[in-house]
């Protein structure tokens, strides 16, 4: 391959995936750690060591499963290491108090209330093209109030490839046409005390894997408590207390 052809090829790759996408191997290795957002919980094991800058990830699950609580945990982790994060909130459902309790530094968070899919794309592209952000969260909100679907976010994917930020999409349903690395968040059981619901537990993991990270949330502490990995818990749980569903999710036996 001649030099002009090589230049043309590099130009096309960089145009599509950004100027950061290509680097020498040693540079890539040295930057790998600093480009990773590690929450320091079992979620890291599910996501392969943390969420990497320049990669998209989706938290998908039904309403009140806990995906938003997990996303806030990730945002808090990203902001702990410096930089800024952006939260695109088309359904205007962002709760500052919950974010604060999850450990998010609100001074370093920019919330964008986009009105439609076009504005979500505009804001997402601007954030991902900027050098200033470490994380972009797109919270599509509850499906009944959603103004944008996962499929609408397809144009953002090329931008995130070359961005110093990670893209985290929080949605109730997976996209039909857009395939992204996904962490499925599923509720396991409600926690009740004295006849009142005081919290719930949920599992997070890749759909194709049986491994799950388990968390519980109580009304007293908005941040999810890390219970550990499914396999670790199965080893220590007494027989009959914890059972596995056919989908691999652990349920508390009634």
């Amino acid at each position: 391959m001649g030099a002009p052809a090589l230049a043309e090829a590099i130009a096309r790759i960089e145009a599509r995936y950004g100027t950061r996408v290509m680097a020498h191997g040693d540079v890539v290795e040295s930057r790998d750690a600093e480009r990773r957002i590690s929450a320091g919980t079992s979620l890291d094991q599910v996501t392969g060591g943390g969420i990497r800058a320049g990669e998209p990830l989706a938290f998908v699950g039904p309403a009140t499963a806990g995906k938003l609580a997990l996303a806030l945990t990730v945002a808090a982790a990203a902001l702990r290491e410096g930089g800024m994060a952006a939260w695109i909130d088309p359904s205007a459902s962002f709760d500052p108090l919950a974010a604060l309790r999850a450990g998010v530094d609100l001074e370093r968070l920019v919330v964008v209330r986009a009105a439609d899919a076009g504005e979500v794309l505009l804001a997402g592209a601007a954030v991902l093209r900027s050098e200033g952000f470490r994380l972009l969260v797109v919270d599509l909100g509850p499906s009944f109030a959603s103004r944008c679907s996962s499929d609408d976010l397809a144009p953002l994917v090329p931008f995130v490839r070359g961005s110093p930020a990670a893209l985290l999409i929080v949605a109730e349903q997976r996209g039909r046409r857009l395939v992204l690395p996904t962490v499925r968040v599923e509720p396991i059981a409600w926690r009740r005390r004295y006849g009142r619901t005081v919290g719930w537990s949920f599992a997070a993991g890749a759909p194709a894997s049986r491994e799950r990270a388990l968390f519980c949330v109580t009304a007293l502490d908005a941040a999810p408590t890390d219970l550990g990995m499914r396999t670790q818990l199965a080893e220590v749980a007494p027989p009959g207390v914890m059972e596995l569903t056919p989908s691999g999710v652990m349920e508390q036996a009634s």
Binding site: E8, A11, A86, A114, F133
Partner: protein, 328 residues
């Protein structure tokens, strides 16, 4: 030796013209005031000739640009300036003994406060020579540092060197390509080397680009001109390239590009965070806020926000937090 040049009644244009002419002629040109310039002639004798010859050349050059000037050459910048102010336009004065030249002049030529000048007058001092004759220690003890400096000037002992501002360097880079670049991707790739060059030039000057102008020469059509404001100002070639790339992507058709000229139109001194003295976090913060401001412009007010907790125990959720625009 120092040469003082006085161009009387210098308007802004005349000042700019005179300054450009002097900078083209001499290496160290300081500006005392608009129309009053002090030139350090140290080291110029071997190249440009004796100071008197240089002075005549200054008068001649300035007269060519319609800037009639009086020039004086003296050992100290102060004596040279005082002499030039007392020289007719188009004339040259050579002061060999600065202290003797200053001696008969009135005290008003010295930079001393009117109150002190009045007190010295009451003490019977009328001329520079009277003031210069006072012992240095006594002047410093009785009237302080300001008068001590004036005393040194009166004795032609001032060691102050000409503070010469280097002429503003035009930072620009240009490329012409034999084969036209048909695609945006190729153009962006080619622009990288130009912006690397500009980045290196900015780094050597300690500057950050605030505004750049891009002129793209096109085959068989008019040149395309773009102007970009760089916020936050930077010298990083990646950030400059990103800005130019955004501008190019806003155009549906660029045409066949055969050349490019990029000029840094406006600069500011690079701050610590822009030259990597501090953690990258500060630069990230600035860039994030700049992006947020851009979004606010595009989306309108009330859409790009930051929040803070006003009252975590508020009974109504809407009172728990306050939202504010990302403006600063």
């Amino acid at each position: 030796m120092n040469a003082a040049v006085v161009v009387r009644n210098a308007s802004d244009q005349l000042h700019a013209r005179s300054l450009a002419t002097l900078r083209a002629l001499l290496p160290h040109v300081g500006i005392h005031a608009p129309g009053v310039y002090i030139c350090d002639l140290a080291g110029t004798e071997r190249v440009l000739g004796a100071p008197s010859r240089i002075a005549r050349r200054i008068v001649e050059r300035l007269s060519r640009v319609n800037a009639p000037a009086a020039v004086a050459v003296a050992q100290t910048p102060f004596a040279a300036r005082v002499a030039a102010e007392r020289t007719a336009d188009g004339d040259v004065r050579l002061v060999t003994q600065a202290r003797e030249y200053l001696a008969p002049l009135p005290l008003e030529v010295l930079p001393i406060e009117p109150k002190l000048a009045g007190e010295l007058g009451l003490l019977g001092m009328r001329s520079v020579a009277d003031f210069a004759a006072l012992p240095r220690g006594a002047v410093f003890d009785r009237v302080g540092r300001g008068a001590a400096r004036a005393h040194a000037l009166a004795r032609a002992e001032d060691e102050e060197r000409v503070r010469a501002d280097p002429p503003p360097r035009r930072i620009r880079a240009r490329r012409l390509w034999d084969d036209a670049l048909p695609s945006r991707e190729q153009l962006v790739f080619a622009l990288r080397t130009i912006l690397d060059e500009l980045s290196a030039a900015l780094a050597s000057e300690g500057l950050a680009a605030l505004r750049i102008a891009v002129r793209l020469e096109r085959d068989e059509t008019e040149p395309l001109r773009l102007e970009r404001a760089i916020l936050p100002p930077t010298r990083e070639s990646a950030a400059l390239l990103r800005s130019v790339r955004w501008a190019l992507e806003e155009r549906a058709h660029l045409g066949r590009i055969v050349g490019c000229l990029i000029v840094v139109v406006e600069v500011e001194p690079a701050r610590g965070r822009q030259i990597g003295l501090f953690a990258a976090d500060g630069a990230r913060w600035e860039e994030a806020i700049a992006s947020a401001r851009y979004l606010r412009e595009r989306l309108g007010p009330g859409r790009v926000l930051r929040t803070r907790i006003a009252d975590a125990d508020a009974r109504l959720p809407e009172r728990a937090a306050e939202w504010k625009e990302v403006i600063s």
